[in-house]
Assembly symmetry: C2
């Protein structure tokens, strides 16, 4: 069942009216057993209160039992009061679930600045605790959606030497997305039994290959958090080299699926731009060029409009800061070569290209002709819906 949680995890949700009444905006996941914890967090200096507390739990305990997620309020830029409020939500949830406060990982998303509405928390938490077991992966994911057009989750089963284990990844988008060592909010669960360092390491590598390579708007949020909880409830141990490789492959695969959904739902995005840079002197150079193209407002609006204005892509390569010889640079848009070794390709492919640009996924291939470094990156286009959503987000 695609919409299921791994063994030993239960989810619940409640409507606390944090943003709008009548929809779930508070979610809870509890594991029946202690979980080995992995986590990656935003590099933004202004880390939201829940980010600071998750980091504390990861460092001090490395284990957890539950995730408490809310939409509508980010609890970021809220100072000491914000931290105290976050701890109070842990305390209240612990009391209702019989856990310790430090076993509960807080996640918040929404408007930056306002303090948590503690009265609404107090009213909603008993219903939340009572709802445990009533929600599936989709139900939990919906509880921390904000501007998301659809819930983002994926599940995968992996056959290890000792039996089958399950992985579920649940995330929210859709704006302020330019993950840097993590993304907005994402929870990955597995019932595999896995040693802590191995779990954190495969997690870090998986995030680097997936969430760290997508962008909606280039804004790295104050709340980016990705948590991995492995509770071992399957009774299947992922220990040997082969098992760990299989688990990592499956984890990376579904993290990739969910990261793609973030870009796909990039606040009104119509298209996903798949940027591949090859022939760079180093991978770091390839990354810089790919991100420069993926963040260009002019590239993003042209793709939105289906306009084959490839000169804007070359322009973004040229101002990326990476030193390349223009005479070595080539470009394919939708598989059609437009620029070869620094010269424009003049042919009669314009109509085919215009047709190809109508697709939902637009490949951009850039070869720098300078070495063996390569990088891939996914970016949203930029259209009217993005402006409408963000010009008046708070109302």
């Amino acid at each position: 069942m695609i919409n299921d949680l791994p063994k030993g995890f239960k989810a619940g949700a409640a409507a606390a009216s944090f943003r709008k009444p009548g929809r779930d905006d508070l979610g809870l996941i509890v594991s029946e057993r202690n979980c080995v914890l992995a986590g990656m967090f935003t590099k933004n200096l202004f880390k939201a209160a829940p980010v600071q507390i998750c980091q504390e739990i990861l460092t001090q305990y490395g284990m957890a039992r539950a995730v408490l997620a809310n939409a509508g309020q980010a609890n970021a830029c809220t100072g000491e009061e914000g931290l105290a409020n976050c701890r109070e939500t842990q305390r209240m949830a612990a009391e209702l679930t019989g856990l310790q406060p430090h076993e509960i990982l807080p996640l918040s998303t929404g408007v930056i600045g306002p303090q948590l509405k503690m009265d609404l928390w107090r009213s909603a938490l008993p219903a939340l605790a009572a709802s445990l077991g009533s929600r599936d992966a989709e139900g939990f994911t919906r509880a921390f959606m904000t501007t998301d057009a659809f819930p983002k989750f994926a599940m995968h089963e992996v056959g290890l030497a000792g039996g089958t284990v399950r992985l579920t990844v649940m995330a929210k988008g859709a704006g302020m997305i330019c993950p840097n060592m993590a993304t907005m909010l994402c929870v990955a669960l597995t019932d595999a039994e896995v040693e802590r360092t191995a779990w954190q390491d495969m997690f870090a590598r998986g995030v680097e290959k997936t969430f760290n390579r997508v962008s909606v708007d280039g804004d790295t949020s104050t709340n980016d958090t990705i948590l991995g909880l492995a509770n071992g409830a399957s009774g299947v141990k992922a220990a040997g080299h082969a098992d760990l490789a299989l688990l990592e492959e499956a984890l990376t695969h579904i993290l990739g699926n969910v990261a793609y959904m973030l870009v796909k739902d990039g606040e009104g995005a119509r298209k996903v731009i798949h940027i591949t840079v090859t022939g760079a002197a180093t991978e770091a150079d390839a990354r810089t060029v790919a991100r420069s193209v993926g963040h260009s407002q002019l590239v993003k609006t042209a793709i939105y409009g289906g306009d084959a204005n490839w000169g804007r892509i070359i322009t973004a390569v040229g101002y990326s800061g990476v030193q390349v010889d223009p005479a070595g640079v080539s470009l394919k848009l939708c598989g059609i070569e437009r620029f070869r070794q620094g010269q424009p390709v003049n042919d009669h492919m314009e109509d085919e290209l215009t047709e190809a640009l109508k697709a939902d996924n637009v490949p951009v291939e850039i070869c720098l002709g300078d070495g063996m470094g390569s990088y891939t990156f996914q970016a949203s286009d930029l259209g009217h819906e993005y402006v409408s959503l963000n010009a008046d987000y708070r109302s």
Copy 2:
């Protein structure tokens, strides 16, 4: 007369149908005397053919007599054929004006990629040469507008020891604007007599304080060029320290006026965001933070919508890459404090702030509490008009 050229310069224009028929898209300025030349050019690696040729003239001759500007075609990413075409336009214009080809500075703006339509050039150049003297500063500026909503030019008179000299600056915007050591196309004329090194130096400093501190969309173009021509036709020499300081002050002042116009007309921009960063460890840090805020899509859309979502500004400070202590950071939006030393300011100023955000100019003051470095930067907001203009620019 505000709309005048300095002494000894004549302007003309013609309609060559490069983009749309029936409007001037080709402009020419000729000086009756040889001009001392200053220039700054895009840092984009893919320098358009006319940029390469202007750089050549500046380096090899340091003098020029004329500027030949066109809209509709950027002659960028056009390879060897593009360079040859550009030289041919110089040659044809030289023949018609009695100048040498290397005395004519080419400037192009428009779509990147296509080759110049040489047949249209051949047809239009005689009319262009014949029109010399028929246009004023506005008339020349209109000849190289693309998506500009209004022509951008300014004039200033300066009283030096030996008499009065005139300065005129003419520029085009409005998209692909994030000048880096220069801006899109800009021509500054003066009839002062000034020594070459002094002219280039005051030019470079003036551009650094003005054009290099504005952004519409963060995209540094392939064609950015700013030229300064001083023909000495006033008979007034700017030589002593006091005269040079006066001339530099006047030049910087009108470059600043025109740079502001670029942001103001930022492809559908409604508002100009004036970002001031103080208290940085260094000026470079202040610059990085100011640019991070000015390039944030989320900040720009919020200002467009008049939404006092100040958390987005703090977020952009936090991901700028500059290491600051969050507990030292303060923010004023429209003069109203929203964040003080890392804590949110909770008061009842929300209504006043919403009212203040309706103004055309929105001040954002950020203090990092970390030193004496400061920087100012102007950025456009981001709205529906930008998307509409850029989603289908070529049609």
